[in-house]
Symmetry: C2
Subunit: 160 residues, 2 copies
Amino acid sequence: MSRPAATPRGEAGGARVSDATLREFIGYHMKRAFNGVQADLNQTLKPLGLRMVTYSALVLIVDNPGLRQSQLAEALDVERANLVVIIDELEGRELITRDRVPTDRRAYALNPTLAGRRLYDRALEAVRGHEARILNGMDEEAKQAVIAAMSVIRRGFEGG
Amino acid sequence: MSRPAATPRGEAGGARVSDATLREFIGYHMKRAFNGVQADLNQTLKPLGLRMVTYSALVLIVDNPGLRQSQLAEALDVERANLVVIIDELEGRELITRDRVPTDRRAYALNPTLAGRRLYDRALEAVRGHEARILNGMDEEAKQAVIAAMSVIRRGFEGG
DNA sequence: GTTTTTAGTTATAGATCATAACAGTTATTC
DNA sequence: GAATAACTGTTATGATCTATAACTAAAAAC
């Protein structure tokens, strides 16, 4: 079992770690890039008191007023149970309301308040700035190519 | 303050939720695609007893025998403290060894065992299959375009 | 030789996420 | 129309992940 003599890579601190094997994979690049994007987005939203999920939820509620929690949970791809605290947060800040649905007394219709719509506007502007930053000068064609590729990948899971 | 009459979107269950606003953003597409990729990768690695992090760690150790935990932590972008349990797991399964470094008795040199190298081979093969699956027929040019774009995005954070 | 820094570790708290169980309501089915 | 099944939102809980502080041992700096 000749064990390779634990060569400490010569000089201390030098000698970059090679990730050549992992760089073969598109998933590796996606993870590393997305880590940075997520961190930057959350920093961007922090002054508005929003996180990535609460922001996404607010946008979907403003764009789809009256939707149910279960619909929103599915759209956001989170469990109904976990959505509750997210909605609690938005409702507690009076950005949205839970309105009873007359035709189905189990369900709540989610609607934005005026404050919710205003924060939506501000958040969207902030996120557009964030996007411009992360794109880092990338041209529109390259951006659209990425979006198309992401859609191809996603379709592979949803479509079967 | 005319609040839109919480219209429950007519028929129950129908009426797709529109994410048109979010689809403007590349980050949104990246998140949704990556969610699927991550789930599929973990399913792929489960039969080998590996998760995404333990797999990445194993690959880097095989490719960079003798590296220190702190180097690996930085390469994986995890805290030194959190890397400990990952290394414990790999060492417990005798896939790697922690070897004392003669020239620095604080540090451990991480080296793969023969079993570690064999699992590395199997894992790499499995992940190549996973990648082919997620690419979903995408051509090499498109794949390289995505990798280039991810690098541009990542560079924006690292480079400053 | 004292102080400062570093490597690995432990402990801990926060956030995230999946799961099961429950009450109230609606839908189905005989 | 009574019994059964399914669905909506909720609570509780445990697993996992992540960040932070504090500690020991050792090396480096001064």
